[in-house]
C-alpha cells in the first residue's frame, strides 16, 4: 500500500507546468512574476557586479585613476602562492563543514519532528544560535577556546588534562572554527530539513507502520528519498555558504596561526582594502565566483533535477 502512494508521487506528471487553459500565458506570466526581483536586482546589484568584473582588468588603488592592465591580474593570481594556499584553506572549510552540517541538520530535524517530549525545547535550543550575528558567535567561541584563559581549557586543566591549542595550532584551528560554525548554523539546516520532512504525507508513514516496517527501514526507504530535493537544496546552499566563509575565521584566528587559516575571501578583502590592490582583489573575486558557480551548476545538474 505504501508502494502505491509512493508511486503516485513520483509518477511523471505530464502536465507539469503546462496548464490546461487555452492561450498559454506562460511567457507573460513568467516575466511578470520575475519583474519585482529583477527591478530590485537591476537597481542595486547590476552596477556593482559589472563594475567589479570590469575593474578586474585594471590596476586600481580605489583612490587614483585606474590603469588598464588587461589580463595581468588574472595571470598574476595564477602564479600567486598565497592565492592557492588561501583557496586551499577555503576548500578545507568546505570539505569539513558540508557533510557534517548536512548530517547534523538532518539528525536534528528528525529529533524535532519525532515524538520526543523534548522536541520543542530542542528546536528552540538548536535554532537560537543562528540568530546571533557572526561577530557575536565568533567572539564568544574565540573566548571559549582561548588557550590560556578560556573556559574549555580551564575545564580540561581542572580534570587533569592538558591545554588544547584550539586556535593556535594549525592542525586544530580550522576544525575549531568549524566547530563554532556547527553550533552556529546547524539549526538553519535543521529548519530546512524539518520543513521537508513535514511535507511528507502522514499517510505514507501510517501505511509503512501497517506494513510492519521498522524505524531504520522507514528512514532509509521513505524519509531520506522523499526529502531528496530538500537535501539537494541544503547541499547547494551549504557549499555556497562555506565557500564564502570569512567572518568567523577572521575574528577567531585572524587567519592565523601564521596565516594557516587565511581563507580566500580574507585574502580578497585584505588585498583590496589593506593593500589597495583593488583590481587584483576583483580578479580573485571573480575567479572564486566562477568556481562556486561551476560547483553549484554541477551539483544541480547531477542531483537537483526533479526525477520525472
Amino acid at each position: 500500500m505504501v508502494q502505491d502512494l509512493l508511486r503516485c508521487r513520483s509518477e511523471p506528471n505530464v502536465l507539469q507546468g503546462y496548464p490546461m487553459i487555452p492561450g498559454n500565458k506562460d511567457k507573460r506570466d513568467g516575466i511578470l512574476f520575475s519583474l519585482p526581483y529583477l527591478a530590485v536586482f537591476t537597481l542595486f546589484m547590476i552596477y556593482p557586479l559589472l563594475f567589479g568584473f570590469f575593474i578586474s582588468f585594471f590596476k586600481w588603488d580605489i583612490l587614483s585613476t585606474a590603469k588598464f592592465v588587461g589580463l595581468k591580474n588574472y595571470t598574476d593570481l595564477f602564479k600567486d602562492a598565497k592565492f592557492y594556499s588561501s583557496l586551499w584553506h577555503t576548500l578545507q572549510f568546505v570539505l569539513i563543514t558540508t557533510p557534517i552540517l548536512l548530517m547534523m541538520g538532518f539528525a536534528m530535524a528528525l529529533a524535532v519532528t519525532g515524538k520526543s517530549p523534548l522536541k520543542g525545547v530542542m528546536e528552540t535550543v538548536f535554532f537560537v544560535p543562528y540568530i546571533f550575528s557572526m561577530t557575536v558567535v565568533a567572539t564568544l567561541w574565540a573566548w571559549l577556546m582561548q588557550k590560556d584563559f578560556g573556559i574549555f581549557n580551564q575545564v580540561l586543566v581542572s580534570m587533569g588534562a592538558g591545554r588544547v591549542s584550539w586556535l593556535t595550532n594549525e592542525k586544530y584551528a580550522m576544525w575549531s572554527v568549524s566547530l563554532a560554525t556547527f553550533w552556529w548554523t546547524a539549526g538553519f539546516n535543521m529548519v530546512l530539513f524539518s520543513a521537508g520532512i513535514k511535507q511528507i504525507p502522514q499517510e505514507i508513514y501510517e501505511s509503512a507502520h501497517m506494513d510492519g516496517a521498522r524505524p531504520w527501514q522507514v528512514l532509509t526507504h521513505i524519509t531520506i528519498p522523499l526529502i531528496s530535493s530538500t537535501t539537494v537544496l541544503c547541499l547547494i546552499l551549504q557549499v555556497i555558504a562555506s565557500f564564502n566563509v570569512f567572518g568567523q575565521v577572521y575574528v577567531m584566528t585572524g587567519g592565523g596561526p601564521s596565516g594557516s587559516t587565511r581563507v580566500l575571501i580574507q585574502y580578497i578583502y585584505e588585498t583590496g582594502f589593506r593593500y589597495y590592490k583593488m583590481g587584483y582583489s576583483a580578479a580573485m573575486s571573480y575567479v572564486l565566483f566562477f568556481i562556486i558557480l561551476l560547483v553549484s551548476v554541477v551539483q544541480y545538474l547531477t542531483l537537483g533535477r526533479k526525477k520525472d
Binding site: 588603488d61 588557550k147 584566528t253 592565523g256 596561526p257 601564521s258 596565516g259
Partner: protein, 421 residues
C-alpha cells in the same frame, strides 16, 4: 492581513522620516557654530579618553562643534577609503603615519602648508612632524607617537632578586631565567600568535633590533628586504630561543593573553605599545614600571607608530571648515596631556612642559622614547610587508624554524611583494 497592512504603513512612515533626515544632511546650512565631523578609530579605553577630549573641545568654545563617530579600527580604513573614493569623507580624519602613503599620492588629503601658522608648526616635535611630510609638503599633523616600550613587574623582580633592569639581550635572557627559577613565573610575555589582534609585536621587536644593530628592515630605497643577514639572525634567534630554548616566554601566546598574563602578575617583562599604560594602571595591585625599549642589541631604537590628523579633500572644499578643522587639530594636539592619559606620547613641545603632563606617572619614564622612534619605511607596500612579516615571524618563533632558512624565505616573499607595487 489588516494588522500587517497597518504595520507596513507605520513602517513606511518611519522610513519616510529617515529619508527626509538623509536629505536634510545635504541641504541646510545652519547659521551658528560650524559643524565638523570626525571619524575616530579609537574604541574601548582609548575611545573613552578621546571622546572626553572632544567633549572638552566642544565645551571650551562655541564657534565649532565637532561630532565624533567611532568606527572599529579593523574596518576603519575600509570605510575611510570607500568614502574618499566618493569624496564623502568627514572634515577631519585620523590616519596612522604608516598609512599616509596610501592616501597621499592620489591627492586624497589636503596639503596643509598654507593653513598652519609658523608658531604652531614650531611647537611640534621635529621627527613626528617630518614623518608627515611627503615631497616637501605637509599632509597631516601628528597627534601622538606610540612606541613599543617595556613594562616590568616590580614585585616579581624583587622576589627573584633582580635589582637592576637588564639592558642587553643576554642579560634579559639571564634575568628571565632567574625569574623562572626563583618565582616560577614567566620571565617574558611577548605575544607570538594571532588571535583577535595580529601578532605585530614580533615584527616590531624584530625591526627595532635590526635598527639597534645598525641595520634596517628594508634597504634605504625600500625596494629590497635587508634582514637576511647577521643582524636578522641575531634578532630572530633571540626571539625564538626565549620561547623554545630558554622557555621563559610562553608559546602560542596571543596579544590579549600576553596583556592578561602581565595584568595577573604572571610575567616579569612585557613589551607592548605605550597605549597599554592606561589599562595597566587601572589594575589593582599591579606594581609595575615602564621604560623605553631597552637597547637589547646595541643602540637605542624602537618601533613607533603615530596617529596623525588629516583633512580629506572634498568636492567643494569649504575654506571656513578647513580653518575650523585646523583650529580643532591645534586644540587637540596642544592638549596632548589629556590624550597622554591613554598612555600616548604627545607631539607638542608645549605639552611636555605642562605640569599636568609631568604629573602623570609612567609617561615621563618613557617620554624620551620618542626621540629614538624608528620611522616606518616609506613604501606603499608597507601594510602588506608588515602583515606578511608578522605571519612568517609568528611561524618561525612558534614552530622553532631554522633561523637561516626562515629568514631567506621571508626575504624571498617580501621581495616578491615589493615587486607587485
Amino acid at each position: 492581513m489588516k494588522k500587517k497592512l497597518t504595520l507596513a504603513l507605520v513602517l513606511l512612515l518611519a522610513t519616510g522620516m529617515l529619508f527626509a533626515q538623509g536629505a536634510q544632511e545635504q541641504g541646510a546650512q545652519p547659521s551658528g557654530p560650524i559643524e565638523l565631523t570626525f571619524w575616530s578609530l579609537f574604541t574601548g579605553g582609548d575611545g573613552e579618553f578621546f571622546d572626553a577630549m572632544i567633549k572638552e573641545f566642544n565645551a571650551s568654545q562655541n564657534e565649532i562643534v565637532m561630532r565624533n563617530d567611532m568606527v572599529k579600527f579593523d574596518n576603519y580604513y575600509t570605510k575611510l577609503t570607500t568614502a574618499l573614493s566618493a569624496k564623502t569623507a568627514p572634515d577631519v580624519v585620523v590616519v596612522h603615519q604608516g598609512n599616509l602613503l596610501n592616501y597621499v599620492p592620489s591627492g586624497s588629503l589636503l596639503p596643509l602648508d598654507g593653513y598652519v601658522d609658523k608658531s604652531m608648526l614650531e611647537d611640534f616635535q621635529e621627527a613626528p612632524l617630518e614623518a608627515c611630510r611627503f615631497d616637501g609638503k605637509l599632509y597631516s599633523l601628528p597627534f601622538d607617537v606610540h612606541p613599543i616600550v617595556m613594562y616590568y613587574n616590580k614585585d616579581i623582580l624583587k622576589a627573584a632578586g633582580i635589582t637592576t633592569i637588564p639592558s642587553t639581550a643576554e642579560e634579559f635572557t639571564k634575568a628571565a631565567k632567574q625569574v623562572k627559577d626563583k618565582t616560577g613565573k614567566w620571565g617574558m610575555a611577548i605575544d607570538n600568535t594571532t588571535g583577535t589582534y595580529k601578532a605585530y609585536t614580533l615584527t616590531r621587536l624584530f625591526m627595532s633590533m635590526m635598527a639597534q644593530q645598525g641595520g634596517s628592515l628594508l634597504s634605504d630605497d625600500t625596494k629590497k628586504a635587508n634582514f637576511n643577514n647577521a643582524y636578522g639572525e641575531k634578532a630572530l634567534t633571540w626571539l625564538k630561543d626565549l620561547v623554545n630554548k630558554d622557555k621563559v616566554n610562553p608559546n602560542e601566546l596571543d596579544y590579549d593573553a600576553a596583556m592578561n598574563m602581565f595584568k595577573l602578575g604572571d610575567a616579569a617583562f612585557y613589551f607592548n605599545g605605550v597605549w597599554a599604560t592606561g589599562t595597566l594602571e587601572n589594575v589593582e595591585g599591579l606594581n609595575f614600571g615602564a621604560a623605553p625599549l631597552p637597547a637589547f642589541m646595541g643602540k637605542s631604537a624602537a618601533w613607533a607608530g603615530s596617529h596623525t590628523l588629516a583633512i580629506p579633500v572634498q568636492k567643494n572644499q569649504d575654506p571656513k571648515k578647513v580653518a575650523a578643522a585646523i583650529k580643532f587639530i591645534d586644540w587637540m594636539t596642544s592638549h596632548g596631556e589629556l590624550w597622554a592619559k591613554a598612555g600616548h606620547i604627545p607631539t607638542r613641545k608645549s605639552v611636555t612642559r605642562k605640569a599636568e603632563y609631568k604629573a602623570l606617572p609612567y609617561r615621563a619614564d618613557y617620554g624620551a622614547a620618542a626621540a629614538f622612534a624608528l620611522p616606518t619605511p616609506r613604501t606603499a607596500a608597507w601594510e602588506e610587508i608588515y602583515g606578511t612579516m608578522s605571519d612568517m615571524l609568528e611561524k618561525a618563533v612558534t614552530k622553532n624554524q631554522d633561523t637561516k632558512s626562515a629568514l631567506s624565505e621571508m626575504e624571498k616573499t617580501i621581495n616578491a611583494i615589493i615587486a607587485t607595487y
